[in-house]
């Protein structure tokens, strides 16, 4: 137990607190702290951990926290940094959930929750579209000059969606099957 462990906890507590929106939106924020402010990782190492994060399960912020914590202070560091990164999110989520459940009889509170639900569907659709673009054309934005359609990926996507809608396949099974398909196809 060193000062490192406490520092890791505090810095990742801040990162967690400000990482609203998830995914790619928070990459620059974590970089600012971990690379620029504290020099815990070089920019090359940070780019590597982003890549590794995409190769391994788990949220980006948890993966980065574990990685940085492990390098700086071993297993206690990994645990402290990860705990810091998730504490505020879980606290606010439970608080907000309790609030909505408690005041669900008040019209305006109930309707705000309905609105959040509707907007959350839009946000999920937006995340899905980003992934579809990455899958289908290999880029996160549409660039007409550089358009290369990946037919194999389109078929894999279509078949997966068909199986999910028609046979209510387990998503974990879909992940395993598409992983195997990737191994065969590419």
């Amino acid at each position: 137990m060193s000062r490192h462990v406490l520092m890791l906890f505090i810095v990742f507590l801040q990162i967690g607190l400000f990482s609203i929106g998830g995914g790619y939106a928070i990459i620059p924020l974590i970089q600012e702290q971990v690379v620029s402010a504290y020099n815990w990782l070089t920019i090359q190492e940070y780019t590597d951990i982003i890549t590794i994060s995409q190769m391994t399960p788990g949220p980006l912020v948890v993966n980065t926290a574990s990685f940085v914590g492990m390098r700086l202070a071993g297993v206690p560091g990994a645990i402290a940094a990860t705990m810091g990164s998730i504490l505020s999110g879980t606290f606010f989520s439970i608080a907000l959930y309790k609030f909505f459940k408690k005041y669900k009889n008040i019209d305006s509170v109930a309707n705000v929750l309905k609105g959040l639900r509707a907007s959350s569907v839009g946000l999920i659709a937006s995340a899905a579209s980003t992934i579809i673009l990455i899958v289908v054309v290999g880029a996160s934005s549409l660039d007409v000059r550089n358009f290369t359609l990946n037919i194999g990926a389109v078929i894999l996507f279509s078949v997966s969606l068909f199986l999910l809608r028609k046979y209510k396949l387990n998503p974990i099974l879909v992940m395993v099957l598409t992983g195997i398909a990737g191994l065969i196809m590419y």
Binding site: S19, I49, I52, P59, V61, A118, S119, T178
Partner: protein, 191 residues
């Protein structure tokens, strides 16, 4: 502590752990996975409840996958449930990343892993689209003009114009309050 409670705790841990171990391609994939187990298979929470949780998980800071797991755990087994779900969710990434950090260059450049992931991306996309279709239908059933309009507008704002979540969510909340106010002044109820 009785046996029934222990069973629920173990169930929560087992499911959140296995969901987390397959959360490739961003936190959003955790939502349809949670739905498969807790809404469809076990029927421990309702579709509406899961939609509330998904909305809250996105409106609060931190990782979506962790937030939603904690809410599911909290809903099913209170604070203990929340802690168990939280541990179940963060354990796989901590263990895997800790191992990977020891030899990460080899892992980063591994071709086999990268082709498996390329295949999985298609599966992730399909699973999230499947969820969006079902959730979208639930919103339509509300038969409320503002709510029907919201998902496509939020989608355009976020995906096409890159407007930040921190702007979108409060705007939607305010619009709903205004709608409630107008309707109550007209003397009608919201629904």
């Amino acid at each position: 502590m009785n046996l029934q409670k222990l069973k629920v705790y173990f169930l929560l841990f087992r499911i959140t752990f296995s969901v987390s171990a397959f959360t490739f391609g961003g936190g959003y994939i955790a939502i349809p996975m949670m739905r498969k187990y807790f809404v469809n298979n076990l029927e421990l929470i309702s579709e509406q409840d899961l939609m509330d949780m998904a909305a809250i998980a996105q409106s609060t800071p931190g990782a979506i996958a962790v937030n939603i797991a904690v809410l599911v755990g909290y809903r099913i087994a209170g604070l203990t449930g929340a802690i168990i779900s939280c541990v179940g969710t963060i354990l796989p990434p901590i263990v895997i990343i800790s191992l990977v950090s020891l030899f990460y260059q080899a892992f980063r450049d591994n071709r086999i892993i990268s082709v498996i992931l390329k295949g999985m991306e298609a599966g992730v996309a399909a699973t999230i689209v499947d969820l969006v279709i079902d959730m979208g239908q639930t919103i339509l059933r509300e038969k409320n003009f503002l709510l029907t309009l919201m998902p496509p507008l939020v989608f355009i704002a976020n995906f096409v114009f890159d407007i930040h979540v921190l702007v979108i969510i409060p705007t939607c909340a305010v619009l709903c309050v205004i709608q409630t106010y107008i309707k109550s002044r007209r003397g009608g109820t919201f629904d």
